[in-house]
Symmetry: C2
Subunit: 86 residues, 2 copies
DNA sequence: TGTGCTTACACGGATTGGCGTGTATTCTTT
DNA sequence: AAAGAATACACGCCAATCCGTGTAAGCACA
């Protein structure tokens, strides 16, 4: 799932949590944060700390992939050259 | 690229920035943050705010994909069923 | 050597996260 | 309607962001 913004992520996250059938409390306990931290993330994700985001993702077995625009997400080049200006 | 942690993301980001041949100053100007915000992200990404992360990614034309563990990143199912326990 | 570019760090300030603890509101189900 | 679960919100706390501004340290090359 392509994610463009914190809001995108939060909405997708909530959907996935529902699909997994788990409550915010359950998620929170699993990753040692508080229930209202999960709530805040789902409602107002802009200011959540990155470390918390990864804990939240782990709780639902969600993976983050970063991919250069235009490339398929499954492709994983190890190096990429560019035109040198000298 | 599969990312497991804030540190993973920061390292991959720095690599990509170098590959693009852009400085922290350039990135910072493009997305309206300060140079040392970029620096802090690359060195100590745990506490960076999610909103900042997305700005940083955009500056290098990097996309975030979230994918349930086990699925290929390029696959994008809109719904996913699970075995109902009732 | 010294000039320029890049990156790391500093102080002060406003804002916020995530914590502990507790409660209000909304929802689901009987 | 009533009970229970789930979620949103409250106050006070400390630590952290990111800001403005400025500087110090790192590195390259003439």
């Amino acid at each position: 799932m392509l994610i463009h913004s914190p809001t995108d992520l939060a909405q997708y996250y909530r959907d996935q949590r529902k699909l997994h059938g788990v409550s915010q409390v359950t998620v929170a306990e699993e990753i040692a944060v508080r229930q209202d931290t999960v709530s805040k993330f789902e409602l107002k994700p802009d200011n959540v700390r990155l470390e918390t985001v990864f804990r939240l993702l782990a709780a639902l077995d969600l993976e983050m992939h970063i991919v250069p625009k235009g490339q398929s997400a499954s492709v994983d080049e190890k190096t990429k050259e560019w035109s040198e200006p000298w």
